[in-house]
């Protein structure tokens, strides 16, 4: 599994002299001894280490989410077969998640776009690159007169030199409208974190904590850098074993791994946290950690009041507070279910306040190391940016829109008339590997190389240790002749806009190589430029040791308002919690069959959407599993099958995000429904971000019933068999065990 020898990737690909199409189906085609039927794979002038029949591993960086995990691609006979973790990478640590592995299906997806599409007579029709580029040049090339807000570039989370290139491209129009939209943005939490802890994304040192109190933070599932977090979590669970307490309305994957899981009413996380703060501050040792006014204001947060509001048993508060006092250092995390509320920032601040009280900053929480190339770091996406873009489009100000890696027509809430606003933009270009709902509305759709065919660089916004720049390199020759790399297309346009600056770069590869080798002094490398570059390709990462920075906490920003009960709108009696699957995320990966067929960790449902409802609530309403329910909010309604799920606050229903595509290929279309469309226009009071978890709904039985497609059988209990045995922590002698975590 070791890395490969030095190689110039481009030469390697050229000299392979084989097409990617020569793969055979083992076992199903040839079942007898044959002569003269199949062709032999042979090479013209391969590198010495290329041996037919032996897989070669190349390092690259995963582009499936923003974590920037280093990966290794196994290549045989010119085909990429499988991705593994890259042991050089601090982020992945040689491991890989399900989502990352499915990247090969982005690459080999049968629904990939293989030719440019242009809108002719209202319809998208295949066209040639020449025509497509001519159109693009005419609109956005050197002659273009667009300026400033007239042009916008909408992307998902993008980092590295692609991000820099987008910035440069927009600069040439004097535009700053690089709009980053992430439907699952954590902007609210980041704002609160910035205020309380002094860092938007502080380093979480899970392995150093002895107790983690998490308010809906799904760091093992759909959080930031889950692979890295999982490795830390594994160390956290080794002796001395840390304890994880999770408090949330709907059990996340992290909650499913908690030592103790509490269900509470959505939106009351802040109240619970303040209740804990109150309980802690009653002990003198913590008294000086927060300003006196806050201490005074907290007086009202006695356990009965808090219990009344949150729905958590009153004894839980002193109990958890006691645990927090007993175990130091601890770590308190806030998550989307706390932040995605109208008082989201307030909630998050109240939660993070606990860290200040407990003195976790500097122990389990630290600032990220300062980055030598801040311009390469992924910028956080936000809903606010999308609204701005929407307004700009609706007002007719935006004249040209480029979209890459973002699908707002699918993932924006239903009340935002994004599709309608988009119609007002005269020129819309989508750069995609596969047509999605948004691309289908564009005037020009350009087929991109898959991340496994293109060069690139990734700089995650979460750098767990030091600084790591992930290098993405092609793992195989382009599958289709008519796809192009994202960087190449943008560079093409830039070359026309600013010929003198960009003439030197024949392609994005040259640009990237120069950019990386220019950075060599920062990495204090003694190698020559070429060797440095090759070394970077070989290891897949550029790393710099840098110490974490100190955090400057500020408890005084926490607003402690009077504890108030939620006012219940009787028309919409249920809280609605959208859940995020670690694999499908906001739906951009719903086109990958492995992920569709991979049972959801908690419900084991596949290929579908469902409505989670607590068994006791279901019993009251006489709902059985598989009954089709209509979930109606003030903004819309969707229908899905009911699933009885005990990990749920009983006044809450939950639906997974990611399904319900209508134009995203055969594996995504028609599977389930899209709950984004029933979110209410509710926003966080402080940041203006969408309050994703604040919608309230009513549930109606439709009388229809369908079989649930799930892996689970007739029971979800062990029925007295010793399948998953559980032992109390004080009974297990973990310290004596042979440690087998790969450090």
């Amino acid at each position: 599994m070791s890395g490969s020898n030095t190689i110039d990737r481009r030469d390697f690909l050229r000299v392979l002299g084989i097409s990617g199409a020569a793969a055979t189906l083992a076992g199903c085609g040839n079942t007898a001894i044959e002569s003269g039927v199949e062709k032999v794979q042979s090479y013209v002038q391969p590198e010495d280490f290329v041996v037919p029949g032996v897989g070669v591993y190349y390092a690259s960086t995963c582009a499936q989410c923003g974590s920037g995990c280093g990966v290794m691609g196994r290549v045989r006979e010119g085909r990429i077969l499988k991705l593994e973790g890259n042991t050089h990478s601090v982020i992945s640590g040689g491991k890989i998640c399900a989502l990352g592995q499915a990247a090969v299906q982005v690459h080999y997806n049968p629904d990939r776009l293989t030719t440019p599409l242009m809108r002719e007579g209202g319809e998208l029709k295949p066209t040639t690159w020449d025509k497509a580029m001519a159109t693009l040049t005419a609109r956005l090339g050197g002659e273009s007169t667009l300026k400033g807000a007239q042009i916008a570039f909408l992307t998902g989370e993008v980092s590295g030199h692609q991000k820099a290139l987008i910035g440069n491209f927009l600069d040439s129009f004097n535009s700053t409208h690089h709009v980053v939209y992430d439907a699952l943005s954590t902007a609210t939490g980041q704002a609160a974190s910035k205020a309380v802890l002094g860092a938007a994304q502080p380093l979480l040192q899970i392995d150093k904590a002895t107790l983690i109190l998490s308010f809906g933070n799904d760091f093992l599932g759909a959080g930031v850098s889950p692979v890295h977090m999982a490795a830390q979590y594994a160390r956290f669970r080794k002796a001395p074993r840390g304890t994880l307490i999770q408090i949330e309305p709907r059990m996340t994957l992290t909650g499913a791994n908690a030592d103790r899981w509490y269900a509470l009413k959505p939106g009351t996380e802040g109240v619970f946290a303040l209740g804990l703060a109150h309980a802690l501050l009653e002990h003198g040792q913590f008294a000086k950690t927060v300003p006196a006014p806050i201490v005074a204001a907290l007086k009202e947060y006695d356990k009965e009041t808090v219990s009344g509001i949150t729905g958590v048993h009153a004894d839980a508060i002193p109990h958890v507070a006691g645990m927090l006092m007993e175990h130091t250092p601890s770590l308190v995390l806030s998550g989307p279910s706390a932040e995605g509320q109208v008082n989201g920032a307030q909630n998050a601040a109240a939660i993070l306040l606990l860290n200040v009280i407990l003195g976790n900053a500097g122990k389990t929480l630290q600032g990220q190391a300062s980055h030598p190339f801040p311009q390469l770091i992924a910028s956080a996406g936000s809903y606010a940016a999308l609204t701005q873009l929407n307004n700009s489009m609706a007002s007719g100000q935006c004249q040209a829109l480029l979209i890459a890696g973002s699908n707002p027509i699918f993932s924006a809430p239903g009340f935002l008339p994004f599709a309608k606003s988009m119609e007002k933009v005269p020129f819309k270009v989508a750069l995609v590997t596969q047509v999605d709902e948004t691309a289908a509305q564009c005037d020009l759709v350009l087929p991109l190389h898959s991340p496994l065919e293109a060069f690139g660089s990734h700089v995650s916004s979460y750098q767990p240790r030091g600084v790591e720049i992930g290098i993405q390199q092609p793992l195989m020759e382009g599958l289709y002749p008519d796809t192009r790399a994202f960087g190449d297309i943008v560079l093409d346009l830039l070359r026309q806009r600013e010929p003198k600056n960009y003439k030197a770069f024949p392609d994005y590869y040259a640009y990237l190589k120069l950019a990386i080798t220019k950075a060599r002094p920062v990495f204090k490398s003694k190698l020559s430029d070429d060797d440095f570059w090759e070394d970077a390709l070989r290891s897949g990462v550029l790393q710099l040791d840098a110490a974490p920075t100190a955090l400057k906490t500020n408890a005084s920003v926490v607003v402690v308002s009077k504890p108030e009960k939620h006012v219940i709108d009787v028309r919409y009696p249920f809280y609605f919690v959208p859940s995020v699957r670690a694999d499908l995320r906001d739906g951009r990966h719903a086109n990958l069959p492995w992920l569709q067929e991979s049972p959801d960790s908690l419900t084991t449902i596949v290929w579908d959407s469902w409505v989670e409802i607590h068994p006791s609530t279901a019993a009251e309403m006489q709902i059985r599993e598989g009954d089709i329910l209509e979930v109606q909010s003030a903004s819309g309604s969707v229908r899905a099958k009911a699933y009885l799920f005990p990990g749920l606050q009983p006044d809450t229903v939950s639906m997974p995000l990611g399904q319900g595509h209508t134009a995203y290929g055969r594996y995504a279309n028609g599977m389930g429904v899209n709950p984004f469309k029933i979110l209410n226009p509710l926003f966080d009071a402080q940041t203006g971000e969408l309050a994703t978890h604040a919608t309230r709904v009513v549930i109606k039985k439709t009388g229809e019933h369908e079989l649930m497609v799930k892996d689970e059988g007739a029971t979800n209990l062990q029925q007295g068999r010793k399948l998953v045995a559980t032992v109390a922590a004080d009974q297990a002698e973990l310290a004596k065990e042979t440690s087998h975590v790969v450090e």
Partner: protein
């Protein structure tokens, strides 16, 4: 020569036979020949209708099988853990059915129960045909039926052998042997009768019977050899028959699943087999008696004896069934007990209770002489008994799969697809088709043995009267 009279003539010839009357000792031997050969005459239209229906049913089964063969077993809606479904259940059912023929012809032959003589022939035919049907299910249920010969132990260029530890290999061997032996036995017992057919038939049929009757002339030497050979095969067949169903039982008993891993399974299966076989004999007895006007040969006292035998076997089966429940209930195997409770209370509970009712309660109808004398009731009862026995096999298979060791794969509602039902129904079509052909080609009542029986009886009477 077989004379070809109209159906109306037959109607006229119908003689009145009192219900309680046993076979007429005074009957002329020529009359026996005539009566039996008459059943082989040109069939009436109803025959063709029923034959066509059987053929259609079989054809549908073939269609289902071809569809399944081409598409894969997925069309049967089998899954993990319901891997076997109706195919194996019906396989056991047909294997069970095959045991009655041997019981009547071999076991009762050795025990000198002469009342078997008029009815053993069709019972033996039933044995052969139900074995042939059962064999089909072994093939139908295979995922790669085109490789079925891997089960057979034969020297081959790959140097491979089947796994001799596997009950399925024992199965294949036992069923193969049993089928061969029962065909030989059936054929062997028919030789004197075939000679009679040869002597009366004309044209192609004559040649056919000439070939099959192996030069039978009825000389003393031939009879002597015939008797020794017949007895030898009978002796050989009895342990074979017992072993066949014991081996089928080991398919389950040797495996480890809850509800299967029970030592009493072999006798339980053998009893069940004899039970369903006897019930089927009653059914066919009534049908043949009615259709071919065999009232004089298939007399009510014979039916009475058969019914009493069936009742006895039913009680043995009930006993063994209770033993099975008891050993599970009082045993230490919690999983098996759980499966038993599941059978009685779970998804399949109606079938399970129906099986117990049909298998253990309904046979009490056979305990009453008035019932035994009523052909309609006996017909219904025998069919119900067989339905119960089919359910028994179904209850062995599906509930264990639905509620086995591993809770994760417990199924909540599994039902066979139309393809499975089609093939199961097709097997019934196949069986009745074969049986109907047999009735018209071979004598369904053993002429020479009836003659023997009549002779022995009158000799015995004479001896008593002397």
């Amino acid at each position: 020569m077989i004379d070809r009279r109209d159906d109306s003539d037959i109607e006229i010839e119908r003689r009145f036979v009192p219900k309680a009357k046993d076979i007429n000792e005074d009957i002329a031997w020529a009359q026996i020949n005539k009566d039996v050969l008459r059943s082989m005459e040109r069939p009436r239209p109803m025959y063709w209708v029923i034959f066509a229906a059987s053929l259609a049913l079989f054809g549908f089964g073939v269609f289902c099988e071809v569809y399944q063969y081409q598409t894969g077993l997925g069309v049967a809606d089998l899954n993990n853990p319901q891997v076997w479904g109706l195919y194996i259940a019906t396989f056991i059912f047909w294997i069970g059915m095959s045991h009655s023929g041997t019981l009547l012809s071999a076991i009762l032959h050795i025990m000198h129960a002469d009342w078997r003589k008029p009815i053993y022939r069709f019972a033996e035919a039933m044995t052969t045909f139900s074995l042939m049907t059962a064999g089909l299910f072994v093939l139908v249920h295979l995922g790669r039926v085109w490789q079925f010969y891997y089960v057979v132990a034969y020297p081959n260029e790959r140097w491979t052998w089947p796994n001799f530890n596997s009950p399925l290999v024992w199965d294949a061997t036992a069923i193969g042997t049993y089928l061969t032996s029962s065909i030989v036995f059936l054929y062997f017992g028919m030789i004197p009768d075939l000679a009679i057919c040869r002597d009366t038939a004309t044209g192609f049929r004559r040649k056919f019977y000439w070939f099959l009757s192996l030069g039978w002339q009825g000389t003393d030497r031939q009879w002597a050899n015939f008797r020794v050979a017949y007895l030898t095969i009978a002796c050989f067949l009895i342990p074979l028959a017992v072993s066949v169903h014991s081996i089928v039982a080991t398919d389950f008993a040797v495996s480890q699943q809850p509800g299967w891993h029970i030592t009493s399974f072999p006798p339980y299966f053998v009893a069940g087999a004899l039970y369903s076989g006897c019930a089927a004999i009653i059914t066919l007895f009534i049908i043949l008696r009615y259709v071919f006007r065999f009232e004089e040969y298939m007399t009510m006292p014979i039916l009475d004896k058969t019914c009493r035998l069936t009742f006895a076997i039913a009680m043995v089966w009930t006993y063994l069934n209770l033993i099975e429940y008891a050993s599970v209930w009082y045993g230490n195997d919690v999983y098996a007990k759980e499966t038993l409770i599941y059978r009685a209370t779970g998804l399949y509970a109606p079938y399970w209770w129906a099986m117990n009712f049909l298998g253990s309660v309904v046979p009490f109808m056979l305990a009453f002489k008035s019932m035994r004398n009523n052909l309609t009731i006996m017909m219904v009862v025998s069919l119900l008994l067989n339905m119960g026995m089919w359910l028994e096999r179904f209850m062995i298979i599906s509930p264990t799969f639905a509620h086995g060791y591993y809770p994760w794969t417990w199924t909540s509602g599994w039902w066979p697809s139309w393809v499975q039902w089609g093939i199961v129904l097709g097997s019934f079509g196949w069986f009745s088709m074969l049986f109907m052909l047999f009735c018209k080609i071979f004598p369904t009542v053993s002429m020479y043995e009836v003659k023997e029986m009549v002779y022995h009886r009158s000799e015995a009477r004479k001896a008593r009267n002397l």
